[in-house]
């Protein structure tokens, strides 16, 4: 397939890996921020192509994984109301809240639907004026503009039966939380290309300068990732700490200006709780007061019982790159995709799910 196969060429991948091996003189620890990159690495076996001295750790860039249990509980409580149609992305359906997940809530009779775009939920609200359509808005800056557009359209059309439960999060504050923590091992970051496609990468420049850490905006195909790692190691070996753009075919420094403007119009930044990690200042997006009429949490006024999270789940450590999934005692024993303790075992971008799916028996064989 054009524009895809070029980036999955086995010969080019081996050649790039060989150049990387010659370049890499010291041991380095680098983090790929995005869960999509984690899956590409594990799925294509890219880590096996890297020099042994280079350690890849997996980052927090899985929106499903970091959505707070309290917000999930709230979404399920809203979905259970008879007048509500709750729409969300497919990935959210199996994520465990305190007591249940959206699939189970659906099986009990709630109207929960998977959509591919928030605009599909707006369309549903137009077609079914007697139902309350709620969009559970999850994702980083990549999906947030579509939510902003949905809210903007709903306001323009006066759609009184549409609302959103906003769980959107921002990448830069999470990166800063990781790099500023005293036990941070990460020496360089592969920044998420799709987030930067929207936001640009100017906001990463102060981070690189302040914490003396190189950041390479990187794509998602195997050769993108290998090249991103190569550029990062070049900087690490040279002792520089700049923001570079590997994903130049998609990302510009200023990002998508229209999308950013729309985000600023509809959303304000707030402190948000990250599942397993805790509250991070300025890391969340919430509706501005002008759009508060579309806030589902306020519209339904539901109080949730206190949240409960399984104490045996170390997903917060995984999301911050402190441990790898198999180092969690519950991995592949008490915690599996059928009975996940944490969201990282569920999402198609979660690191635990990636290891379970593509690595488990090899790891098990290794231990036995």
């Amino acid at each position: 397939m054009k524009y895809v196969d070029e980036y999955r060429d086995a010969d080019k991948a081996r050649a790039l890996a060989a150049r990387l091996a010659r370049l890499s003189q010291h041991p380095w620890v680098v983090m790929e921020v995005c869960g999509g990159q984690t899956h590409a690495i594990v799925r294509y076996g890219l880590d096996a192509l890297l020099p042994r001295s280079l350690e890849l750790v997996h980052g927090p860039g899985c929106p499903v994984c970091v959505t707070a249990v309290g917000l999930l509980d709230l979404a399920m409580a809203i979905a259970a109301r008879p007048e509500v149609v709750l729409c969300t992305f497919g990935d959210m359906m199996r994520v465990p809240g305190s007591r249940s997940d959206l699939f189970a809530v659906k099986a009990e009779g709630a109207d929960v639907r998977t959509v591919y775009s928030p605009l599909d939920a707006v369309e549903l609200a137009r077609r079914q004026p007697d139902r309350q359509v709620v969009f559970f808005a999850v994702g980083f800056e990549t999906t947030a503009p579509a939510t902003a557009m949905a809210v903007h359209l709903a306001q323009r059309e006066g759609l009184a039966n549409f609302s959103v439960l906003v769980a959107h999060v921002r990448v830069p504050p999470a990166l800063e939380a990781i790099v500023a923590s005293p036990d941070c091992r990460v020496q360089g970051f592969l920044a998420a290309g799709h987030v930067c496609m929207v936001m640009g990468y100017a906001e990463y420049e102060p981070l690189a300068a302040q914490y003396r850490v190189p950041i390479v905006v990187t794509g998602f195909e195997p050769l993108d990732i290998l090249q991103g790692v190569y550029m990062l190691v070049q900087q690490l070996e040279a002792g520089t700490a700049r923001v570079e753009n590997q994903y130049a075919r998609t990302v510009r420094r200023e990002g998508n200006v229209q999308a950013r403007r729309l985000l600023e119009t509809v959303f304000a930044t707030v402190t948000r709780e990250w599942r397993g990690i805790g509250p991070i200042p300025n890391s969340g997006l919430a509706l501005r007061p002008e759009y508060s009429a579309f806030d589902a949490a306020a519209r339904f006024g539901i109080e949730c019982p206190p949240e409960h999270q399984d104490a045996g789940c170390l997903s917060g450590q995984v999301l911050q790159g402190r441990i790898k999934p198999p180092q969690c005692p519950a991995f592949a024993s008490r915690c599996t995709p059928e009975h996940p303790l944490g969201a990282t075992m569920v999402s198609s971008e979660g690191a635990c799910a990636a290891y379970f799916r593509y690595r488990r028996p090899a790891a098990a064989d290794h231990e036995s």
Partner: protein, 331 residues
């Protein structure tokens, strides 16, 4: 019950192994093949059944009627049988238009003609509005097993070559495209078709077929994992050798799906001895339905029960069962 209990993944096999196999315990069922091969006097008869609940009822390349005929025909073919007689049970929802029932029936008759089988008995029930999703179909079928071969996962041997009868993923993408009103350049049509002719040609050519499996809900990936586990063998396949049409790959990229787990309705894998693999491939390629047949891998060792895949860039990864249905990812 969750939807995933019917999704063809890990939850479904748990349900079968924990409830049905112990409850109905008998040697035919516990083989867990696509159908059972039983003896009626001196004749070996393959017997199978399947229910169809697809939405939408009509989709590019087929409909619930042709699906119900081909699905059962193919399950019989996987036993090495020549499919002959089918039954048809219809559960209709009050309010369904007669025209829909007529179209489905005509489609079933056309599919039966194409597959060389007859629909010889049936049953119709109507349920109250809201108690059914328009129309459900169940078909059962029998066919005679003429070959003396015992075909099944336990016959898989190290050294066997894995043949795939054509490109994968078309049925699932055709259904998703229709269900979600997704517009792609050009229509992606379901691969819904009978495969009995190809299978019988393999047997007629004297290929010592060890195992056959048609690829349905869980796609190629789930079928391979299930067979590897059942056979206690390690199956190694190469991603680059698995045919996937350009438009299906494109749709999968956009939707975040892995074509390896997308449903098919006219594809199967055959495990054959390495010495006969080239000739078997030649036989398959003579048929229009399997003109794109390919050798995608081999059985490398006994005992481990897992599937490994060499990725497009040369790395190696595990192919695992899905726990339920694939979910489109967020970004």
């Amino acid at each position: 019950m969750l939807l995933a209990h019917g999704g063809g993944g890990r939850l479904m096999s748990q349900l079968i192994e924990r409830v049905f196999v112990p409850t109905f315990a008998n040697p035919y069922l516990s083989r867990q093949h696509d159908g059972a091969v039983v003896r009626c006097g001196s004749v070996r008869v393959a017997f199978t059944t399947d229910s169809y609940v697809v939405q939408p009822l009509f989709f590019a390349g087929g409909d619930i009627g042709s699906l119900a005929v081909n699905g059962t025909v193919n399950d019989l073919a996987m036993c090495g049988a020549r499919p002959q007689y089918l039954s048809c049970g219809l559960i209709l929802e009050e309010g369904l238009e007669l025209e829909v029932v007529r179209r489905v029936a005509e489609s079933m008759q056309a599919a039966a003609g194409r597959a060389g089988v007859q629909l010889v008995t049936g049953d119709t029930k109507v349920v109250e509005r809201g108690k059914g999703d328009g129309l459900f179909v169940n078909t059962a079928g029998i066919g005679v097993v003429e070959s003396e071969l015992d075909i099944g996962p336990e016959q898989i041997r190290p050294g066997d070559v894995v043949l795939l009868s054509g490109d994968v993923g078309r049925h699932g993408i055709a259904i998703i495209a229709q269900r979600e009103s997704l517009q792609f350049e050009g229509t992606i049509e379901s691969d819904c078709a009978p495969v009995a002719e190809e299978v019988l040609a393999l047997l007629a050519a004297g290929i010592e077929v060890h195992c056959l499996r048609d690829l349905t809900r869980g796609g190629l990936g789930s079928a391979l994992v299930e067979l590897a586990e059942r056979a206690g063998a390690c199956v190694e396949v190469c991603e680059r050798d698995i045919p996937v049409r350009e438009e299906v790959r494109g749709a999968c990229e956009i939707l975040g799906l892995d074509p390896l787990y997308v449903a098919n309705e006219g594809r199967f894998v055959a495990f054959v001895p390495a010495a006969q693999a080239e000739r078997a491939l030649g036989v398959l390629r003579e048929h229009a339905g399997s003109a794109q047949a390919a050798a995608i891998g081999a059985v490398t060792a006994a005992g481990s029960g897992r599937v490994l895949m060499e990725s497009a860039v040369g790395g190696q990864r595990l192919v695992d069962r899905l726990s339920g249905e694939q979910l489109p990812r967020i970004c």
